[in-house]
């Protein structure tokens, strides 16, 4: 049975295809301004690579910000449930999942079966999200993908004060202007991002094992700040941490397809 999960986020769109318990492949693209277009492009790209057609997919579940409008999805599930499900399927010992997405940041508690028990997420402010990181990287004049490694070279990290990532631009520009080392500023950017995320995680309460999913998981600077503050080492996922929501969606698709199958 071939199933798909399609996670349409604010910044990136992800697709995963599973054949029973085996992952056939995944794809990530930058989101287009239109969620339908993002869903179609990412899935087209993946199916083409796997040499599959839409008709080969028995069931598809959409998730993420654009989950309601994935045109070929049979159903949709919230990204919180999908991250919980995907992460527990990949690493069964996980109990706390930090999902650092493009425009949201969540701390999710799952039970032994991977079901979501509780969560916290940002609602009013985008500080601590991928988009905030991107904006701050832009103010520093580096690509967001470089922030993590750059910060490892820091010798005297700066401490940023502004909670708003848009206002932080002033602080960053001022530091650049004063001639501060960009590695030190990058470390400050990662630190303030981690502090925002920690706020949610501590509010939820930490239970081990802990893992981080979403694009922010790729920033080694933010990840090590979080590990240090939470006094734990995060689990290693065997797949790209950015596709875990899509993996979860595909697993829900398998459940739903199985139910349909047994009814028939």
């Amino acid at each position: 049975m071939i199933v798909a999960g399609c996670d349409i986020g604010a910044l990136t769109a992800k697709a995963v295809v599973l054949n029973n318990d085996v992952m056939l492949g995944s794809e990530i693209i930058q989101s287009r301004s239109n969620a339908v277009q993002s869903a179609v492009e990412v899935t087209d790209k993946l199916l083409k690579r796997l040499d599959l057609a839409y008709s080969d997919i028995d069931y598809c579940v959409g998730t993420g910000y654009g989950r309601n409008i994935v045109p070929f999805a049979n159903d949709n599930v919230s990204e919180i449930s999908c991250h919980g499900r995907g992460a527990t399927w990949l690493v069964s010992t996980i109990r706390t999942i930090i999902d650092g997405g493009g425009q949201d940041c969540k701390a999710i508690r799952v039970d032994d079966n991977g079901f979501v028990k509780d969560f916290r997420m940002n609602t009013k402010c985008a500080a601590g999200t991928g988009r905030a990181l991107e904006l701050m990287a832009e103010s520093l004049g580096v690509d967001v993908s470089q922030l993590g490694h750059l910060s490892l070279e820091a010798s005297d990290p700066v401490v940023l004060q502004e909670p708003c990532c848009v206002l932080t631009e002033i602080e960053i520009r001022y530091l650049v202007f004063e001639g501060r080392d960009s590695a030190d500023i990058a470390a400050g950017i990662n630190d303030i991002t981690a502090r925002r995320i920690l706020h949610l995680v501590r509010n939820l309460g930490v239970r081990k094992d802990v893992g981080i999913t979403g694009g922010i998981a790729k920033n080694i600077g933010v990840v090590s700040c979080l590990e240090r503050a939470l006094k734990t080492t995060f689990v290693q996922f065997p797949v790209d941490p950015q596709i875990i929501g899509a993996v979860g969606a595909a697993l829900f698709a398998a459940d739903k397809a199985g139910k349909l199958h047994s009814l028939a």
Binding site: A10, S33, N34, A35, Y65, Q103, K124, C125, A126, T129, R131, A132, L135, G141, E162, P163, C164, C165, V166, L167, E169, I170, R173, Y174, F177
Partner: protein, 262 residues
């Protein structure tokens, strides 16, 4: 005697040149990087307008975010002090000043004796600033100036519910994708910005006359919405609302020289 002021902001440099108390020239120069160079260029441009050279300036003071980076200045003065000085010069009956710039957002009262009575400064959030407006205009793919004029005729402003710049940007993009009219979207943005500014201004007394300054004061629709929400009309200061800080710095340069020579 010739005096000058340079207001080096986050996104633009402003210069003002005065002779006695008359404004001879002013200049606004938006910049992306190299604030030190922008400070030099903006003053040279202003000087060139009136055929003066830097050597002819008797004294120059700087203000704004980059006040310590203005190489030719004889000293630096805080923004609030400069704004207050210029407002007193331009219109002594002003009792409330609302300053909305690119990243800043402040309001203050002036009492009957001409002293600063109360101040309110920006929240820990960029909602309501020029940056908020710029990001939304960018999402709408049209210049702010064009949108702020054209959207005055909108009869159907679309409410923007998110305060956060980043969330509001997504909200705007969703509205565009849903086929909403761009001018109706911008009218909604202006209304949200005006509401945020009113929230801050209400923390102090709103005593007439009221002046609005800073880059956002050039945004016709935000100004209109703000005037409606506050139930008043802003006073006309007779000069470009973005050079008030630079003008104040020049006036203080003059005051200092005059008091030193007495």
């Amino acid at each position: 005697m010739i005096y000058a002021g340079c207001d080096l902001g986050i996104v633009s440099a402003k210069a003002a040149i005065i002779q006695n108390s008359d404004i001879r020239a002013f200049e606004i120069l938006p910049y992306k990087s190299h604030p030190k160079q922008a400070a030099v260029d903006v003053m040279d441009k202003a000087l060139a307008k009136v055929g003066l050279s830097r050597e002819q300036i008797d004294s120059c003071l700087s203000t704004g975010f980059g006040k310590n980076a203005v190489s030719y200045a004889n000293g630096a003065v805080p923004s609030l002090v400069c704004l207050h000085r210029a407002i007193r010069e331009l219109n002594p009956s002003i009792r409330t000043v609302i300053d909305v710039g690119g990243h800043s957002f402040a309001a203050f009262n002036i009492d009957d004796n001409g002293r600063i009575a109360a101040t309110a400064v920006t929240d820990k959030c960029a909602a309501g600033t020029g940056k908020f407006v710029d990001v939304m205009a960018n999402a709408l793919e049209k210049p702010v100036e064009e949108l702020s004029q054209a959207s005055l005729s909108s009869n159907n402003p679309i409410p923007i519910t998110n305060q956060c710049v980043i969330f509001a940007e997504s909200e705007v993009i969703s509205h565009i994708n849903n086929g909403c009219d761009r001018l109706d979207i911008f009218a909604g943005i202006a209304s949200a910005v005006a509401a945020k500014i009113v929230g801050l201004v209400k923390r102090i007394d709103v005593n007439e006359e009221v002046a609005m300054i800073g880059g956002v004061a050039k945004n016709s629709i935000v100004v209109r919405d703000l005037e409606r929400k506050l139930g008043l009309r802003f006073a006309n200061l007779g000069v470009d609302c973005q050079v008030i800080g630079a003008l104040g710095a020049a006036l203080i340069a003059k005051d200092e020289r005059e008091s030193a020579s007495q």
